[in-house]
Symmetry: C2
Subunit: 329 residues, 2 copies
């Protein structure tokens, strides 16, 4: 197996290349064996939200999911970067209520809904965003649920030395087979720690998550539940016009995937026993999205939706198609 050059994703305008992205990517099996690679397969990557599915595992291991009778949509939202569309907010709100918390307990900070129409509806209603609208509020409600189950103090659950973040770090270490003690640490958009890891470790982690290989029975079961929730309710993992949702729908449950800020994607193809991790060197989302579609095609995953394309059209302000984003051939 030979590592290829970084994937090149080009932005076309009028048939000419306007911009160019480099993407590092790697495909491994659950043992970490590299099946395909492009660029620096050990690129130091802050996985950001791409490991949310792994961060949700303790919810199930701890018995919290059972005790609080979490729904499939809630499990999907524990792994989500959602658009704060009305249905997203309803799910998180009722979940928060069931665990005896309120939006003020969320320490993720607030921002306007990333789903533009929902942001404008919020403004139109004369309201302003609260922590509930943060794209990470599902994951954070998961943290609060785990804290309830473990009877931890809720306050400061985002801090690296809080037992919640220690448990999250442990599950990442277990799934990626890494020691994060000396890993570079940054603070994520939602204020929890994020550790820089080699891209290959993310691929291995998501491969293990997707296949259940090399995990304890309990971990296998937890991963299976989360995977099943994500592909059953892909809308609750992201939302309208979002790539995670689009891909999971188009591949009819045979692909599980999660994006992270700064051009990261982690995806698993259970039936092929593979995990995919990629990072657009420049951190752009469009490059990561097109690269993921390209790699899924490359490894032989096939969309059930015949309209699914790797290339993404670009439209201007009059809705004319003026270009596209596609892999450079």
């Amino acid at each position: 197996m030979q590592i290829k050059d970084p994937l090149r994703i080009e932005v076309l305008r009028g048939g000419f290349q306007e911009s160019l992205h480099l993407v590092h990517a790697v495909v491994t099996d659950s043992s970490g064996k590299v099946v395909e690679g492009w660029g620096d397969i050990d690129f130091l990557t802050f996985p950001r939200s791409a490991v949310k599915p792994l961060q949700a595992i303790p919810l199930i291991l701890s018995g919290a999911e059972e005790r609080f009778q979490m729904s499939t949509a809630e499990l999907a939202m524990a792994c989500s970067s959602h658009g704060a569309e009305p249905a997203h907010l309803r799910v998180v709100s009722s979940w928060l209520e069931r665990i005896g918390c309120e939006a003020d307990d969320l320490e993720c900070g607030s921002h306007w809904p990333s789903h533009e129409e929902s942001a404008h509806d919020l403004a139109r209603a004369g309201s302003y965003p609260v922590a509930l609208h943060n794209n990470c509020s599902g994951k954070h409600t998961g943290f609060l649920t785990l804290a309830r189950q473990r009877q931890f103090d809720l306050k400061g659950y985002i801090q690296p030395d809080h037992p919640i973040q220690k448990e999250i770090r442990s599950i990442l270490e277990y799934m990626m087979e890494l020691d994060l003690k000396d890993a570079p640490m940054g603070i994520d958009g939602c204020s929890i720690p994020t550790w820089g890891v080699p891209l290959r470790a993310i691929a291995r982690g998501i491969a293990r998550f997707s296949t259940g290989d090399q995990l304890t029975k309990e971990h296998q079961l937890a991963c299976k539940k989360l995977r099943s929730a994500m592909v059953t309710e892909p809308y609750f993992v992201a939302g309208t016009d979002r790539h995670c949702t689009r891909v999971m729908k188009a591949f009819g449950g045979t692909v599980v995937c999660k994006t992270g800020a700064e051009g990261v994607f982690a995806a698993g193809v259970p039936e092929l026993g593979l995990g995919i991790a990629l990072k657009a060197q420049d951190g752009t989302r469009r490059a990561a999205e097109v690269a993921l579609s390209k790699i899924l095609h490359q490894v032989g995953a096939s969309p059930k939706d015949p309209d699914f394309t790797i290339e993404q059209p670009l439209y201007n302000r009059n809705q004319w198609m003026i270009g596209s984003v596609r892999p450079l051939v």
Copy 2:
């Protein structure tokens, strides 16, 4: 003079590099002589909105500016990519009225104000965006003004074969000393043609615009008026928290600059006789902004505002500073 490697702009999180941008850039004098260069100084670049100041020149040459008694703010807005803040809309509206046009005559298409707060205010008022809110509505009002002056049919003024766009093409050819006949053509976000040109030609064009060198007396005067309008009213060239506005303010009139979509910047430093053109290869704005600040420092332009920094801080959803964007040293 030796061409250096492309500028590297890094995104730091927790002190570690998370993402990396490559920027091609060139500094020339008005004759096109290269003073400094990084990467591919002839990188094929769609200048997009970065050449709006050049596209505004015919407004003055034609006598339209005089006939319609255009204000300084209106001249600045002819060169703008504005945020559709209330003051921007007031200027464009009254200008449209004065030339006997209305917002419906604008063929740029509509989008929500790029200034986020103004977008939310618009929604809060129960309204929806129209062409007036398009960041290019100032430039397009300039086109309509020119069409009035020339007594052209307004309809279709965005089409490549309309006499307005032919005149715009001619002025670009004159200023950049290029023949655009066989240049790659794309369609811009606002639906007018945009031609791919070597980065160096953009630098030369903006150097000539900034210094007036090698131009006819009429062109010199037109450029001087526009330059003066831009640095006198930098808020009307972009808006709140925008890099064009920030730079022109910070350099107290000694730098004139204009950004373009997909990571482009054109800037002039009249007193040094220089033009700068740069293109982030991946099309990201943050890379282009930091690269411009870096190059201005490099060529010896000095900000009057002591708080102006090259490095840009990054904040998360709790407003914690979690990283920055800066040139790689």
